[in-house]
């Protein structure tokens, strides 16, 4: 941290930011081009002289895009709330209580989080089909547990471990039961960690593709990633609409990332760095 940044460094930085952001920039520019300028000679012009919002209108009028957004929101929110709730108890026990087999349990959680989705898809598909859960929210929320729960437990354990043990000892001295300690001392201190975990789980559930692709095939139950990916027809690909839809899903993401970047980074790196 002692090194000082020179002007050359900022040039490099600007280039880096430009390269990473270029696809988004181009998609943003394309989304306001009229259809005729997406193809042919003008396809490679950066700026259009006839900006239009037609693609945006079309995304919402000609496609059930609002419905996709709603579906994704419902599925991701319920998945997040329920897995983080269940995981919070397990993580507290693993991080804070003494009992045999903790390391094995944590190892199992980590192993499950590495499971390839494809290895679970056929039985899960048969299961949701048997119970008539294809094309329903529950049909995605149940399978999403496979990745959301291990992720939540893993992250929460690292956050719970960071809370000082002295507080717990003091509460014990004063005669608090473990449950009282949990609700009155640990949970309030763990709120930032729980929040960070929720953001990461939400993003993971929002982005999920394979289960959503196979289980919810009806237009009214598709999620955003599948919905956008299926914009492409058999012969034509509506690039204008795809660009507009991409911009629509990216903007809330950018806002979220800007607001919570510190938390997200702490969550992403918490499992990988020993402090």
């Amino acid at each position: 941290m002692t090194k000082k940044a020179g002007p050359l460094f900022y040039v490099f930085l600007a280039l880096f930011v430009f390269f990473v952001m270029f696809p988004f920039l181009w998609v943003l520019l394309s989304s306001i081009k009229p259809l005729s300028e997406l193809f042919g000679d003008k396809a490679f012009d950066w700026l259009t002289s006839h900006p239009t919002l037609k693609s945006y209108v079309s995304v919402f009028v000609n496609y059930p895009f609002l419905r996709y957004l709603w579906n994704s929101t419902v599925v991701a929110t319920i998945t997040t709330v329920y897995t983080v709730f269940v995981a919070a108890f397990a993580a507290y026990a693993i991080a804070r209580l003494e009992f045999k087999g903790k390391t094995v349990i944590l190892g199992l959680v980590l192993a499950v989080s590495m499971f390839p989705q494809i290895a679970t898809i056929s039985p899960i598909y048969m299961f949701v089909k048997k119970f008539g859960l294809t094309n329903s929210y529950l049909g995605l929320i149940i399978p999403y547990t496979t990745f959301a729960l291990p992720l939540s437990i893993w992250l929460l354990v690292t956050f719970f471990r960071k809370i000082p043990f002295d507080l717990e000892e003091a509460a014990k001295m004063d005669g608090a039961t473990p449950m009282q300690t949990y609700f009155k001392i640990i949970l309030p201190l763990a709120v930032p960690g729980v929040f960070t975990t929720s953001i990461l789980v939400f993003i993971a559930a929002w982005n999920e593709f394979l289960f959503a692709l196979t289980i919810n095939t009806a237009e009214t139950y598709k999620t955003v990633p599948v919905g956008i990916a299926m914009f492409q027809g058999q012969y034509t690909i509506p690039w204008g609409e795809i660009s507009a839809a991409t911009v629509v899903v990216t903007i809330p993401l950018v806002i979220m990332v800007l607001l919570f970047q510190r938390r997200i980074v702490s969550g992403l790196t918490s499992g990988s760095v020993k402090e």
């Binding site: 880096f16 397990a90 944590l106 390839p116 437990i153 956008i228 914009f231």
Partner: protein, 435 residues
């Protein structure tokens, strides 16, 4: 004190239990089932194979929709025929009646038999549980053989013009051919077939190539970026946000975005690649084998290098700067500092980042499914894509599950290798209770 310890242990187990049960039921059990499915010839589009059978069984619906009608048709033919033909027909009828008696000799089957008959008489469809009756192997084989003989005999008579309603009789007899459901256990056949199929090896090679090349590039670039931005500078927030956005966007959406940028006619990135001579023609990017693989790797590197840099940066920031100060006082060059201090101190961060990235890359699905669909000519078909296609396009769940198990085993092996390198670092709870 001892009691308190026991209480704590009990509380611990009961708090962990719900999560563990969910993980067992929704993640571990399906993997076991996948393996189980892979041992069967299990196909969704074939009614006789759309579930798993250990033993022979009889489709009573199919049987009862044909046998009674065949019986009465044969009687009609017998009444109209004479001499040799009449005798043959009588033999056939007797054979079938004996067989019918054999089927009904089992009480349980007889009960189902009558029930299905009743349901069919009411013009309703019997439930799957009701209409499938278990059959012992002997009767099942006898049924298959008998029906086979009967069909052959009737066809010959039809040819000889000895039957009045030849088409009807033969049709009803043929209707009995599909009523025996054979056990579809095939053992390790799917694995044997898969491993002797070039397509699996090609997919494994594609997956490995994609994983090794993209993870290697991501590591080198990520480390470079992490080293460069590991200093105080103006605009850290912007850079951090820039890093997070490609990571946060759904892979399927970013894949579609790259498909647009790579487009052979109006893709800007394809256009620039052509201009700088990276590809001969714009169209090559997604239509040639090498071009498509390059395109997929490039898109993956774009999406995950920033994430890699972030993990490594967090590792770098834990290295105390006093180490570097001491080294430079001792006259160590920058390169020596890098190889002697940075790399050893960063080892566990690098390994963890590599572990996560390697596993992620090995099970890649969304990116390739949307960007190339595995094409052209299966040149970017990874093992997950292949398994998905076999399962859901060919609806061959047995063979697809075998491929899924192969993916699972590969991932398990890769994890074990890394965990061995990492040692217990990953799981040890250094910050945990030391009472």
């Amino acid at each position: 004190m001892r009691n308190e310890k026991r209480m704590e242990r009990l509380l611990g187990y009961s708090l962990v239990a719900p999560a563990m049960l969910l993980i067992l039921a929704i993640a571990i059990w399906p993997v076991i089932q996948s393996f189980y499915y892979s041992l069967f010839d299990y196909r969704l589009n074939d009614p006789t194979k759309s579930s798993i059978h250990w033993s022979y069984s009889l489709d009573l619906e199919g049987y009862l929709q044909n046998y009674p009608f065949l019986k009465s048709a044969l009687k009609q033919e017998m009444a109209a025929a004479d001499g040799q033909t009449k005798q043959t027909l009588a033999q056939i009828e007797q054979k079938l009646a004996k067989l019918d008696a054999a089927i009904r000799s089992n009480d349980q089957v007889a009960r189902q038999y009558d029930k299905v008959n009743e349901v069919l008489d009411n013009f309703e469809t019997p439930s799957d549980e009701l209409k499938i009756a278990e059959l012992d192997k002997q009767t099942a084989e006898r049924l298959t053989d008998t029906v086979h003989d009967v069909v052959r005999a009737l066809k010959e008579m039809k040819k000889a013009g000895e039957l009045q309603q030849a088409d009807k009789v033969v049709g009803l007899a043929e209707g009995l051919e599909g009523v025996v459901i054979e056990p579809n256990f095939v053992g390790l056949k799917h694995y044997k077939d898969s491993f002797s199929d070039m397509r699996l090896w090609k997919a494994l090679w594609n997956t490995t190539f994609f994983t090794v090349v993209s993870v290697a590039i991501e590591l080198v670039l990520g480390l470079g970026i992490a080293l460069l931005i590991n200093k105080a500078f103006f605009g850290r927030g912007v850079v951090r946000a820039t890093i997070l956005i490609p990571w946060a966007i759904p892979t399927a959406v970013s894949a579609l975005m790259w498909k647009f940028l790579y487009d052979g006619q109006n893709g800007i990135v394809a256009h620039y690649f052509e201009t700088i001579g990276l590809v001969d023609r714009m169209g090559d990017l997604l239509t040639t084998e090498a071009g498509a693989m390059f395109a997929v790797i490039f898109a993956d590197v774009w999406k995950t290098t920033p994430y890699m840099a972030l993990l490594l940066l967090a590792g770098l920031q834990t290295i105390p700067s006093s180490l570097y100060e001491a080294a430079s006082i001792d006259g160590a060059t920058k390169w020596q500092q890098f190889t002697q201090i940075t790399l050893p101190m960063l080892k566990s961060s690098i390994l963890v980042a590599l572990l996560f990235r390697t596993l992620d890359a090995f099970r890649v699905f969304d990116l390739i499914y949307v960007l190339t669909g595995g094409g052209p000519a299966n040149s970017t078909e990874t093992i997950s894509i292949l398994a998905y296609k076999v399962m859901f396009s060919q609806t061959n769940f047995g063979a697809g599950s075998a491929l899924a198990v192969v993916v699972f085993l590969c991932v398990a092996i890769i994890s074990m290798i890394y965990i061995k390198w990492l040692g217990k670092d990953l799981l040890s709870d250094s910050a945990s209770v030391k009472r």
